[in-house]
Assembly symmetry: C2
Homo-oligomer: 238 residues x 2
């Protein structure tokens, strides 16, 4: 029997849909019954993470812990969380439940360090200003002995604007696509070999990238890790 996956979601709902879809799409399955049991708590009423960090707003931790407990009680064997910023509270959240919570950030760093170590110093992080300010990805890669490339300040402002337009549904018609591709071209010329989408919106722009850089999507990597962890249990009594 495979393990039951818990998704602590709702931060935001679209990213939760995206992770769920990527798990289902990437599970080897012929019949419904080959798929994984997944319990999702899509709770968009968790207080906003960026505001809590940057503006001293209400902490999201109590609501996140309640959701983790709900998932554990409902039968989840482990938890994943499709929100990069929320990983700021991961250690405290883990203390609230007895089942493991696997980090999407550590997972992306471990995957790239394991198979693409030669890309150290050549992976451009595409994330929001808040995620970059928290150093979550930079620290995870540093623990793997790798460094990341970061956009400069003006590029970061443009990325945040492009991400907001993605949230509003603007993909092929995103007004920042030309600037985005110009930025990718500059980094490619300067030695970048890959991009890492460390914000759940940026992979949605991948189809419109015109610069031939390798592309890593932390949400897709999380989906693949989730499937592997859940299927680890196959044939065992859980």
């Amino acid at each position: 029997m495979s393990k039951t996956v818990g998704i602590l979601g709702g931060m935001g709902p679209l990213a939760t849909v995206d992770l769920f879809a990527k798990i289902v799409d990437n599970t080897p399955a012929v019949l419904d019954q080959d798929h994984l049991r997944i319990i999702i708590d899509n709770n968009p009423h968790i207080p906003p993470r960026v505001e809590a960090i940057l503006q001293g707003g209400e902490s999201p931790l109590p609501a996140m812990a309640a959701s983790a407990k709900l998932l554990a009680k409902a039968g989840a064997d482990f938890i994943v969380m499709p929100c990069n910023t929320a990983h700021y509270w991961l250690a405290e959240l883990q203390a609230a439940v007895d089942i493991p919570i696997y980090s999407m950030i550590d997972n992306a760093a471990a995957f790239i360090a394991g198979r693409h170590r030669h890309l150290s110093g050549k992976v451009l992080l595409l994330a929001t200003a808040a995620t970059i300010k928290l150093n979550l990805y930079q620290q995870a890669f540093a623990r793997e002995g790798m460094t990341l490339l970061l956009p400069d300040q003006n590029e970061q402002i443009m990325i945040d604007k492009a991400v907001r337009r993605v949230k509003a549904g603007e993909l092929a018609n995103n007004p920042y696509l030309n600037e985005f591709n110009a930025m990718l071209a500059r980094h490619a010329t300067a030695g970048a070999a890959a991009v890492l989408a460390g914000c759940t919106e940026t992979p949605l722009l991948f189809p419109y990238f015109t610069v031939p850089l390798e592309r890593f999507d932390a949400t897709l990597l999380l989906a693949q890790m989730t499937i592997a962890r859940a299927r680890d249990g196959e044939g065992q009594k859980e």
Copy 2:
């Protein structure tokens, strides 16, 4: 505070992703916090429904009832179920929990009867042979005083083949698209004015329909009803 939605899912997982995505896409929201709390039990290990009905296989009812209880205990205020065939057990399932379970089939019939009553006898049901054999849609429309058009036997065989190819990811390249459109053209000539997707795969072929028939998608109608039911609670103490 809006109500918490419970989705009894996994039958199949793709249809569950589709309903979740349609709820999120259709919720009026600017911030994450404007979205609905949704608890999903995606349990693809529920025994197969069609086999239970047509071949006397294991009943899915006990597993469905366990899932409904899990959702109620986790805090869902009502339950919806993105699987047409599973509605065969709706009355027995409802007896297992104290929160309401709203029918996607009755909802589609009520919507069309309420706003498109002039289409009685002119809506072609696009569903699997199993759903049609169970008379679920035909009975729901009869209760509303309306009748549905059904494909003939050869057309139904073709629809089931096309649906299997959709499940395998074949949309624009679905080998049955020409036959499908020829069928739609025949029914349009004979007086059909609309199609009703009463199978969670058929709406995925809507973009490739070349015949100008009105299109109803039972999953989208379920998403819209779910949003309305959940937001009914706004401003009330739940």
